[in-house]
Every structure is written in C-alpha cells, then in structure tokens.
Amino acid sequence: MTPRQRTIRSFAWLLGLMILGAVFWWGWAKPRALTVVEGSGKLWSKLSDNRRLNTHPAPPPGKEVRVNGDIGLETPIDLARWTVDVIRDDAKPLRLKMADILALPKSETSTLFFCIEGWSDPLSYAGARFSDFLDRFGLGKDPEGGMYRYVGLATPDGKYYVSLDMESMLHPQTMLAYELNGRPIEVENGAPLRLVIPIKYGIKSLKRVGKIFFSNRRPPDYWAERGYDWFAGL
C-alpha cells in the first residue's frame, strides 16, 4: 500500500467511525444517560453500607438557613393547626399533631447540606429520627412483615413530593426536623416539620410535610419526573 492509499484509507475510517459515533450518541446513548446514572447510583449505594454519616462542624447558632425553592409552600399555613397524615393499609390514616412529634426522642446533629445546584451549607438540626418515628407508631411494615421498600412524602397541597428508599430513610441522620441552626424552622424553610436527609441532595429534604406513605413500588418524585437522578445519593 502506498502512503497515499494508506492516508485515504485512514481518513475514510476516521470519518466513518465519527458518523457511527454520532449516530450511536444521539440515537442510543444520550437518551439513556439518566439510566446509566441511576444504575451507577445503585452501585454506589451497594458499594458502601449507606450508613456513613455526613457530619460537619455546626454553624454558629442562629445562622440563617439558605433558602432555595418554595414549591408546595405557596399557600399560607396556620402552624398551630398543622397536622400530618400517615397512610396505613389496614386502618384509617394516622393524623398526627406537632405534639405527637415533639413527644418522640429529640435527636440533634450537624451536617454539610448539599444542593444539587452545586452549593453546600453547614446546617445543624434537631427533630425526631425517622426510624424512631416508625418504631413509635408501628409504621412502615408491609403485609408480609418486612419493611416497605419506599417511603413517599408530600406537602399538604401535594405540589411537592418525593420518594426515597427505605434504607436511606432509616439512616441515623434522617430526621423529621423542627429546629434548624438552633431555632424553630422558619416558614420558608419548611415550618413546622420538614424532612432532612443529609446523605442525599437537598431536593429530597421535603419541606412542610403533609403526608407520609409507604409502598413497594416507587412513588412519584417531583425532580425525578424532571430528569434528575432519582436516588440523588451523595
């Protein structure tokens, strides 16, 4: 083969592979990018025990909590009359008042709170561990006696909703929180009760909890429906 023939052949190959690559990318790979990420998210959670803590020195008491997003918080709220409904299979929904939550053991921790946009914010918070909450009211067990695989949460107006894997919900830092940075939660931060789950991006830490339910099928998730990784683990 002369150098000239070799050159033509090589360039033809490169061009052909580039076209093939473009077809592969737009026709197959790009629409599946999120599936790959969800798969590797599962892999990450399998590789570690998912019990690793996200601890961080506490910010000065009273430091303002960074606010991002008010979906599900648009309607005015009467904090004194707030209740949360926990859906049960065999009985009527369990309607709990703030006093019921406050009666649970109070846990406190401080963490670095991560937003999926790329910022982080030191945060200390206090409330009831979600695992304590389940234990106290005998919740989360499916008819076969095992734990449900998923937990769903929604704001009272149903406009913001998240779903999470039970394993992450049982993490010791996953809480139904009523204090942030040493103060009662402000309305824009999710008063009177919000989820804080610092092993996931902030999109999962639902503010103003209005409804909690359990399922073995993945419940809808606001940001997962908008193209974000459902697991959102850190």
Partner: protein, 188 residues
C-alpha cells in the same frame, strides 16, 4: 523522502475516542456549573446564551455522570498502554531530551503534565460527586468547596491545553495531523 511510523494504532484509536468524550465532559460540566456559577468572571451571560446553556442542569448532570465512566475508562486504558508499550519513555520529561526523540522538551512536559491534571480532574470529580461516601477523598482535597474549585481550575487547564494543542497542530501542518490519523510521517 521516507515514511516513518509515528503513532501506533491503539494510540490513534484512543486519541480520537477521547476527542468527543472530552468535549462532552466540558459541555455537560458547563451545564452543571451554570446552576451555581460562583467563580468571578466565569462566565458572562453572552457565553451561556451563545452555547444555549441556560436551565439545563438535569441534562448536564445525567450526561456528565454517564460519560464520565467512558472518559475515565479511556484514560485508564491509555495509561496502561503508555507504560506497557514503553511509550511513556517517549513522553516523560528529561533533563536532556534526546535529539532524535519524537517529542521536544516542551512537548514532553506538556503531555506528561496534562495527564497529571486529567488525573486530578477525575479525582476531584469523584470527590464532589460522592462527598459522603468518598469523604476521605473529599477531605484529602481540602473539602467540598476546595475540591469543586480544583475541579474547575483543572477544567480550565485542560481546555487551554486543548486549544493550544489544536493551534500547534495547525501550525505544524499536514504531516503532523496525518500522523495522528494514518500513523506515519513523511521525512525528507
């Protein structure tokens, strides 16, 4: 006039595979950065508008984290080949670069350096991707915010390398470009 073999087949394959992967990583990374563009001067609004980068965080994250696996894999294969074929000797910086070598002293420093920066780019990427599960790595790199800055600066360095590299090839001409496609160089 004689034909001299310059770049082996495996190296040319990896090189051209790396081009789209690298560009996809930069592009999707910028879609993510847009959502919290805290570093002064980076980037002006016209830049985002020009490349249509506004409000595409979800898309950026999905593509960045999916393509990252291919990018890392290519880098690993390249590194393994580099040492197993002895090609690393051609690229490693020397106090006295041999006159007959394929690469000049400046090229040796640039091509070795860029590999080190790419490795740091990947490490800092993992550190900000999994700051809880890989918290030892995040801490090693000075914490989340520092790791994010490292990731960003490495991206700038790699992009600068990319531009200079393309310019140099244009300056050097057809013979150099053909060598990376067909593998050989013609010398007088």
């Amino acid at each position: 006039m004689k034909v001299v073999e310059k770049h082996p087949f495996w190296l040319r394959c990896l090189h051209w595979l790396n081009v789209p992967l690298f560009l996809l990583m930069i592009w999707s990374g910028l879609l993510i950065y847009w959502a919290n563009d805290v570093y002064p001067g980076f980037f002006p609004q016209w830049f985002y508008d020009l490349f249509k980068m506004n409000f595409r965080l979800a898309e950026g994250l999905a593509i960045h984290f999916a393509v990252a696996w291919a990018f890392v894999l290519t880098g690993l294969v390249y590194t393994v080949y580099l040492f197993r074929t002895g090609h690393a000797k051609e690229l490693a910086p020397r106090v006295k670069a041999p006159a007959h070598g394929l690469f000049s002293a400046a090229q040796r420093v640039a091509y070795t350096g860029v590999l080190a920066v790419a490795a740091l780019e990947v490490l800092s990427g993992f550190a900000i991707h999994k700051p809880v599960q890989l918290q030892w790595l995040t801490r090693l790199l000075g914490g989340y915010e520092t790791a994010r800055l490292i990731h960003f600066v490495c991206m700038l360095v790699l992009s600068a390398f990319f531009f200079v590299h393309v310019l140099q090839v244009i300056r050097a001409g057809w013979n150099t470009f053909r060598a990376m496609v067909a593998g050989f160089e013609v010398r007088k």
